[in-house]
């Protein structure tokens, strides 16, 4: 196994790229994809520590995270479709109906 620090650095790199994606992009679907990137970064972290410690609990937690990500992606995309049907746009800047 490669030293644990390598996996943690990789995890942080993916986290940073995901954060940049969420904060920077205007297309809501790409924002959702960046959220999936962050969840993957967390999964890498969990599985690396599970391997280090020798217990399978990290992998079980990662399975729950994947399940959660599936549920959230489904609902999020449903919302995007519903919004698109009303306003014909997928850009986050133009989703400002609730702004006063």
């Amino acid at each position: 196994m490669v030293p644990i620090g390598h996996y943690l650095f990789l995890s942080v790199a993916l986290l940073a790229i995901g954060i940049v994606g969420i904060v920077t992009r205007r297309n809501v679907i790409i924002i959702l994809m960046s959220v999936e990137l962050i969840l993957n970064a967390v999964n890498i972290n969990l599985v690396a520590f599970s391997r280090l410690v020798g217990s399978v609990e990290g992998q079980v937690f990662a399975i729950f995270i994947i399940t959660d990500a599936a549920a959230e992606a489904a609902v999020g995309l449903g919302i995007i479709i519903a919004f698109f049907r009303n306003r014909e746009t997928v850009l986050a800047d133009e989703m400002d109906i609730l702004k006063w």
């Binding site: 993916l14 940049v20 920077t24 992009r25 993957n40 992998q59 399975i63 995309l77």
Partner: protein, 168 residues
Amino acid sequence: MLDQVVFYFFALLAVASSILVVTRRNAVQSAIFLVTALLATAGIFLSLDAEFLFIVQVILYAGGIMVLFVFVIMLVNLDVALHQVQFNRQWMVALIISAVLAAQVAAALAVSRKTLYALPPAPAQALEPNTERVAYSLFHTYMLPFEIASILLLVAMVGAVVMAKKRV
């Protein structure tokens, strides 16, 4: 030696694909690069002796969630959106903040370098047979979260169907 080569290959693939995900103009290309990033992550899981998680990642994430993403992108794809500005005005701030965050975590890792790297990795046999151990853990210790996850999926299914239905 082989471990290092495999890790660097998958790590570089994951980071390169992620950067491409957040910078592409075309949403379909972003989705494809996200699939590549997810498959690279699955490769990292496999190299960490987590075979069940590797195949779960491939089936659920790459083969399920990403197909859903690609479907929705094709349904809402607008040529108008392709030609507009892709990044909002805060991109410089975002880059700086992410870099600072990454630097902070790197500093934290460097400070605890001695104690962290001193832990020897557990022998690979501790995780064998992988599927049976994960199944035992899921169905004995973590039975309650398992059931709650199934209710969560039911709620998400109903919610997604109601959200996306056409109002008659």
